[in-house]
């Protein structure tokens, strides 16, 4: 009975204060079902904090975060979080298969079903035949794929990604961007993607939200009408892409100088 047109995630006048320090101030935005929304902003604009609020890891000081129409009360299994520091988010004493298994165990998946589901998930993120390896035996890109596989095991309605490719080299990052778009398309998951890379935000997003700092609030909102499927060369060379990039850069530069109302 869910209303398909209603937003999946909605921030309504969200304030978040750590003591006297206001990190988010009257932050309001919505994410529609199946939409990819990228959040950018200068440091101190609270983009990671906003993601943690959306995940239910932090409770807002004031205002409401609604998920599927109902207020969030802590983390939920159908909202998966992909952390930037994949090395810390994976269990070093479990193999790749064991790490994926953790999400299945948490969801109470029957033991007999797990091996087949783990194999399918590892294949989906491009890690078939790596199930027996420990995270430390894998490259950074592979570890992040593994974390994505574990999040997909939650069968999430929403994927919250906190600068997931920020610490990877450029080639690996572009490869993972395209794989993520393919996975998002196949699963239909709604995605909130936090990044400091403006081009990445435009390349991936249906919409880009730019946060202004002190306190974090909406500074700019851009609809990205670039056609899909997107292409690392052609899309990034298109006039529309460059125009959006310019607009976003100008916003960030202004926000950093504090030239916003």
């Amino acid at each position: 009975m869910t209303d398909e047109a209603a937003p999946l995630i909605a921030f309504r006048e969200v304030d978040l204060a750590f003591g006297a320090h206001l990190v988010l101030g009257r932050l309001s935005f919505e994410i529609r079902r199946g939409e990819i929304v990228c959040v950018v902003g200068p440091s101190g604009s609270g983009k990671t904090t906003a993601l943690r609020v959306a995940a239910g890891l932090i409770e807002p000081t004031r205002g409401i975060v609604a998920f599927d129409g109902a207020p969030m009360k802590g983390p939920r299994r159908d909202v998966a979080v992909i952390f930037q520091d994949y090395a810390k988010a994976l269990l070093p004493w479990r193999t790749a298969a064991g790490n994926v298994s953790l999400a299945l165990e948490a969801a109470g998946a029957p033991r007999r079903q797990r091996p087949a589901r783990i194999a399918a998930l590892l294949k989906k993120v491009g890690l078939p035949n790596h199930g027996h390896k420990f995270p430390t035996q894998m490259s950074g890109g592979m570890q992040q794929r593994l974390q994505i596989a574990r999040c997909l095991a939650q069968e999430p309605a929403a994927l919250l990604m906190d600068e997931p490719f920020g610490s990877l080299d450029a080639m690996t990052r572009q490869g993972l961007q395209d794989e993520m778009l393919a996975i998002a398309k196949a699963s239909g998951a709604t995605i909130l993607f936090v990044t400091h890379d403006l081009e990445e935000a435009i390349y991936l997003g249906d919409r880009v939200i730019g946060l202004a700092p002190h306190p974090g609030r909406i500074g700019i909102e851009l609809e990205i009408a670039l056609p899909r499927p997107r292409d690392q060369i052609a899309t990034r060379e298109s006039g529309e892409f460059l125009r959006l990039r310019r607009e976003l850069y100008d916003f960030i530069r202004g926000a950093e100088k504090g030239a916003l109302p």
Binding site: R77, A80, F83, A89, L91, P92, W93
Partner: protein
Amino acid sequence: MKSWRGLALPAALLVLAEIGGRAAAPSDTVAPPSAVAAALVAGLADGSLLAATRDTLASAFGGLAIGAAIGLTLGVLFGSVKSLDRLMELGVELMRPIPSVAVIPVALVALGFGYRLEIAIVSFACLWPLLVLSRAAVVGVEPRLIEVARVLRLGPFARVVKIIAPAALPRIFVAFRLAAGISLVVAVTVEIAVNPMGLGNGIMTAGQALRPDVMLAYLLWIGIVGFALNAGLVFAQNRLFGHAARVAGAP
């Protein structure tokens, strides 16, 4: 065939000790290595050395088990419950610096000579490293992993079993290894100081009987027992936590 070079210096020292020991004979304080080896073999053959070893290890392991169990329980409790940790901090810091040897007279009055005395003091000595290090191990569990547990909505039991225990265990085992070494040292110390049993008493008796060969044989044997104990624990550690221990950076 390079490994024999490492043996050259010890072998030379043994030869020198043999020459010096024989030159000094008869002596009440030193004995040549050959006499020490003979005394060691004799002690093993007549069973006196093994009986003493049994007494010492029984006390050391008994005390280690009790002390480690209490220390581990308190450490995990203090590490997980912040208010309790603050409440007990002063008490722990006041008790911990008391040298275990200083407890001997108190324990002697309360318990008398024998296993109970030794086990009590060994457990007192072993309690602290387990308490302090297991508390630190629990507190030091990567906060990101706790968040992963929250995001996956693991229950309190699953959180301990699947996240906190495996993350903390390698460090806790290092604490256990440390405590095992301490248990042997303290057990022998108690025997040398007051308790008329075990290896410590054996070495004291041999010294008082002016038998340096037997005394040094005991010393050598205590070294062998300590080495074997540590080697066994290192082996167990690598078998149990080989991978995780390397990752956690535990020594």
